[in-house]
């Protein structure tokens, strides 16, 4: 198990190196430098700026020095937010996005697992059809549509909840969290239903029932652990999706998190900010994929044996 974790961590290093390299050269091959602004800037100013950001060196030298900085966790200054470093901007946005993602995940897991397990307990009844139709609607209702519709209904027409901001007015965290969480609740409902249905048909569940355990205990003590493995394996990709979703949700609800910074950096052509954030977000996503894989293995003895066999 530990050996597997370490080997996976080591495998992440070339992937990360590739991310840094590809993003660096992509950004540097962009037509038009970061300072080719709408206004005419005197050449000596451009020269001074290029010196300040090391743009006068050959590209490979810039790459090496950037790589050296990144390894030490330094993403350099932002091009457009003058006087602020990429690290500062990430540090400012990360707690907000992390909180948003946490609440969204909470919504997704609680609603999704309840609906999915409930559906699997009585397949092909109303208790199955209703939540599963709901899940299908959730999957087909992207966050950039659901968010505005929720704002329209609960924010504007009913006037129950604030429609923008984060932590300024009580209740302003509710709509963004639901908007971001709904799609994942839908996926998790489908995954946990499938996983539970498979586990519930196993012999050891029949044994548990034959012992005279109540259905509740059978589900909680015996079925959940196996039935939720697909959900756990989905957590890594879901986390990546939550980050991408935060781009939209933070834009809709005007939340000053990582997602909004990223989208704004994309529009402002703030190359250092984009470069730094891409690398930072990629690292996060790769780490979370690793974590969710490890968790799935820890939950599934069969997989554990397979790994022991191959090592």
């Amino acid at each position: 198990m530990y050996r597997f974790a370490i080997s996976r961590l080591l495998q992440a290093i070339p992937v990360l190196l590739m991310v840094v390299t590809v993003t660096f050269f992509l950004v540097h091959s962009a037509p038009g430098g970061p300072f080719s602004a709408d206004k005419a800037v005197p050449p000596e100013v451009i020269k001074a700026l290029e010196e300040q950001y090391n743009l006068n060196q050959p590209v490979w030298q810039q790459y090496l020095s950037y790589l050296g900085d990144v390894v030490q966790g330094d993403f350099g200054p932002s091009f457009k937010y003058s006087g602020r470093t990429v690290n500062e901007l990430i540090a400012a946005g990360l707690p907000i996005t992390a909180e948003l993602a946490f609440y969204a995940m909470l919504v997704a897991l609680s609603v999704g697992i309840t609906a999915g397990v409930g559906a699997a307990m009585r397949p092909n009844t109303m208790q199955d059809y209703l939540p599963m139709t709901g899940a299908m609607i959730g999957i087909c209702m992207p966050s950039f549509l659901l968010g505005p519709l929720l704002v329209l209904v609960f924010g504007i027409h009913l006037d129950w909840l604030p429609v923008s901001g984060w932590g300024d007015i009580p209740g302003d965290k509710i709509l963004p969290s639901i908007t971001l969480g709904t799609g994942y609740a839908a996926y998790i409902a489908r995954l946990s239903r499938g996983g539970m249905l498979e586990v519930l048909s196993q012999d050891y569940i029949r044994t548990a029932r034959a012992k005279g355990l109540s259905e509740r205990l059978v589900i909680i003590k015996h079925a959940l652990r196996g039935g939720l493995i697909p959900v756990v394996a989905f957590l890594g990709p879901a986390f990546a999706g939550l980050l991408a979703g935060s781009f939209v949700v933070e834009t809709i609800f005007q939340i000053p998190g990582l997602g909004r910074f990223y989208v704004q950096a994309a529009f402002n052509r703030d190359y250092t900010l984009i470069l730094g954030m891409t690398i930072f977000l990629s690292t996060l996503i790769i780490l979370f994929n690793l974590l969710s894989d490890m968790l799935a293995i820890w939950l599934n003895p069969k997989l554990r044996q397979e790994i022991r066999g191959t090592n």
């Binding site: 590739m18 962009a30 950039f144 549509l145 994309a266 052509r269």
Partner: protein, 289 residues
């Protein structure tokens, strides 16, 4: 004997069709899809107004007899806008999926057929690419190279082929050792011919299912990017872009958000149901009851 074999040969597809036709939601999905494709093909002929036809005096109006879905703030007919937007959305869905199909099938078929070292290397590349956060990369690509529709097709297609490669590979691995492949081999057919004539056609079932499910996810990705302003650019239009515009004015003119939203959701709904139905129908493991 010959008849029996013939009947057995057609029965997979026939059986699949019978199963599919019992699945009302999947049939509904199929009907919606066919209608959408026809509408998109015929849009220039059947759209009630011109794409850029404006009635500035009118401005945004609620749905009426002249304009079934109302007009936008420039007095342009919403139904027409949605029809033209749907053309682009569907086109992105189909073309990017086709890109993914071609790369994924070739990659998976080659890796699975030759196996061994080549397979190990090719699949390792897929594993590495899987670990990359692609949504972020697509945004980066759009930023760096400008918001070009061709690039969008390529970028999305290049992301979506990975799963297809895995599916095809595992299918091919299973097929490789079957007798009919051995027979083709002993007849002296080249390996490429065997892949093309014997292996690929036999992987069609799962490929069709996965394709049906890829199209909606690609359309969603396009709408997502267009909503952020990083996908399709005006004067072109797509459902994601229309939703983006709709959000800006949703307080006064909610129909400008709701109708493109319904169009997108309904399409995703239909394609997902069709995909689910096809999966049940084409999976030989599901019983015939």
């Amino acid at each position: 004997m010959a008849d029996a074999i013939e009947e057995h040969g057609t029965s997979l597809w026939k059986d699949a069709w019978i199963k599919l036709s019992k699945n009302r939601l999947a049939l509904f999905g199929l009907a919606v899809l066919i209608m959408l494709i026809l509408t998109s093909l015929l849009t220039p002929l059947i759209a009630p107004y011109g794409y850029e036809t404006q009635d500035l005096d009118m401005g945004a109006t609620a749905p009426s007899l002249q304009h079934w879905l109302g007009t936008d703030i420039f007095g342009r007919d919403m139904l027409t806008r949605i029809m033209y937007g749907g053309r682009v959305s569907l086109m992105v869905g189909f073309i990017a999926t086709a890109v993914a199909l071609v790369i994924g099938i070739s990659w998976g078929a080659i890796a699975g057929f030759f196996g061994g070292r080549l397979d190990a290397i090719m699949m390792r590349i897929v594993d590495v690419l899987y670990a990359l956060p692609f949504m972020i990369f697509i945004i980066l690509l759009m930023v760096v190279f400008g918001r070009n529709i061709l690039l969008l097709f390529l970028a999305i297609g290049a992301v979506e082929w990975l799963t297809m490669a895995r599916i095809v590979r595992s299918q091919v691995m299973a097929l490789r050792n079957q007798e009919f492949v051995e027979a083709a081999n002993s007849l002296g057919l080249s390996e490429w011919t065997i892949i093309r004539r014997h292996i690929i056609p036999n992987t069609l079932g799962p490929v069709i299912v996965y394709t049906t499910l890829t199209i909606p996810s690609v359309m969603l990705l396009e709408a997502f990017l267009s909503f952020l302003g990083l996908g399709i650019q005006p004067p072109e239009s797509s459902w994601g872009l229309l939703i983006n515009y709709g959000v800006e004015t949703m307080e006064e003119f909610p129909w400008l958000l709701i109708f493109p939203g319904i169009a997108l959701s309904l399409t995703l709904f239909a394609l997902n149901f069709l995909g689910d139905g096809l999966r049940d129908a084409l999976d030989p493991r599901t019983s015939k009851d």
